[in-house]
Amino acid sequence: MSAGYYDIALCAPFSLVPERFSTKSTQRLIAEVLSGVMKKARMPMGELDGLSIASFTLAPDTAIAMVEHLGLSCRYVDQPILGGASAIAAVRRAARMVAAGDVRTVAIIGADKNDATSFSKIVEDFSVFARDAVWPYGAGGPNAVFALITDHYMHRFGAAREDFGALCVAQRNNAQGVPHAIFRDRPLDLSAYMSARPIAEPLCLYDCVMPVAGGEGCLVMHMRDAEAAGLPYARRLATLERHNAFCDDPVQTRGGWAMDEAAFWAQSGTTPDTVDCIETYDDYPVMSFIQLEDLGFCSEGEAAAFVRTLTRDRDGRLPINTSGGQLSAGQAGAAGGHLGLVEGLRQVTGLAEGWAVERARTALVAGYGMANFDRGLCATAALLAEGRRA
């Protein structure tokens, strides 16, 4: 394995403050994220030679159209269409390219608009399978698919709604004071969680992410470039990417993380018990549970007990989804996976904008995406470690 692959830095985390609905175009949101990232990096935009954009709503444009739009000249342009797995997939690709010397500085950007109809348009035309075998059944969208996955999980492993609620409530506590969390001023308690209106039983209001307009981004570069620029940065210790794993499981109880978990920790040179904070892909709390299990923090079906054993601070905060996750920040389409990446990067570089986990030196970030038919197909994970703190 190339030694350079272990010398990759992530830096310049930036998050837009999301809006529930916005008339802004996706092109504008991308431009705002990239401007924010480059300002954090104190680097002229013209020095970028790599651009990775994840978005569901960029059409008719593509990443290369954005290269011209933004006035860049690039050696690497990528548009991973892996939903919430896109951010880490982009980092994984960019890390290899940077290590090989094929590109120097890559912006990893996710952004999606949200006007009154964009979310239902994305869902209705999401895929041929979804159009044929999910949408005709009441047009519930991902809520219906993940209600079925949640019901099956609860039955199989004996999890209760209170178990999911404990995580959702802790995440909302984490979000208080985070400037880019849409529910930063809206704390949640377990009784409000339990009595919320049903969306797709057993899922109720606080189990479901709110679609928003927004975007997130950061840079990938060689550590020596981050050092030379004096930027706070995180090191990439390991990355994982696996799609359509365990396709014979009749209902999803695990994802691609479980298939490659051992290789992931071997690549990282560390173990789950050394991780200081975990950023799951929390489109629904059951998926956070599955990621905790698949990535080796606990055994299959044991996530509820694992969450109970974690130490909370005096404000009820847990080191899982430290800025509140998507359940508190909202889901800006394909940028939902960038949210955890950018937050994990902040935690290990001393750049947290809300709650800073004490002495956070390593962050596990997971991505998940593309409910094509009855499950999400794409699984990613990254382990980030403190490089240089702010």
Binding site: E124, P136, G138, G140, H152, P198, A200, E201, P250, V251
Partner: protein, 117 residues
């Protein structure tokens, strides 16, 4: 006795769902427009939901609407309309019909004794 037809691979005999262009089991390229084949309609409920919110206002009048994931004896698992009284593990029969858009939709009904589930 089954009224259910499903996409089918003439090469390995396996059923699949949703319809595909290639068999996901043996990777045989399927003939274009191949007819669906009669399939065992019996199955078991794996998961249930009651949908209270729809993204299509055409469904609003029929909410809440019960759905289930059903493991068919024929092989694939499907999402189907369901009665509200189902429990996980219940035996069901799945049938195919057309909705008002002309789309093929699956519905699960309680299995009767004669169905020998």
């Amino acid at each position: 006795m089954s009224a259910l037809t499903l996409p089918h691979c003439p090469s390995c005999g396996a059923f699949h769902w949703p319809a595909r262009t290639i068999c996901p089991h043996c990777h045989t390229l399927l003939p274009e427009g191949a007819p669906w084949a009669p399939a065992d309609s019996r199955g078991t409920v794996l998961a249930r939901t009651s949908l209270h919110v729809s993204l299509d206002t055409a469904f609003d009048a029929s909410l809440p609407r019960a759905l289930a994931t059903v493991a068919l004896r024929a092989g694939p698992q499907v999402i189907a309309f369901a009665p509200t009284a189902f429990e996980i593990g219940d035996p069901v029969n799945v049938s195919l019909s057309q909705d008002h858009h002309g789309r093929q939709v699956l519905s699960a009904a309680p299995a009767t004794r004669q169905d020998d589930n």
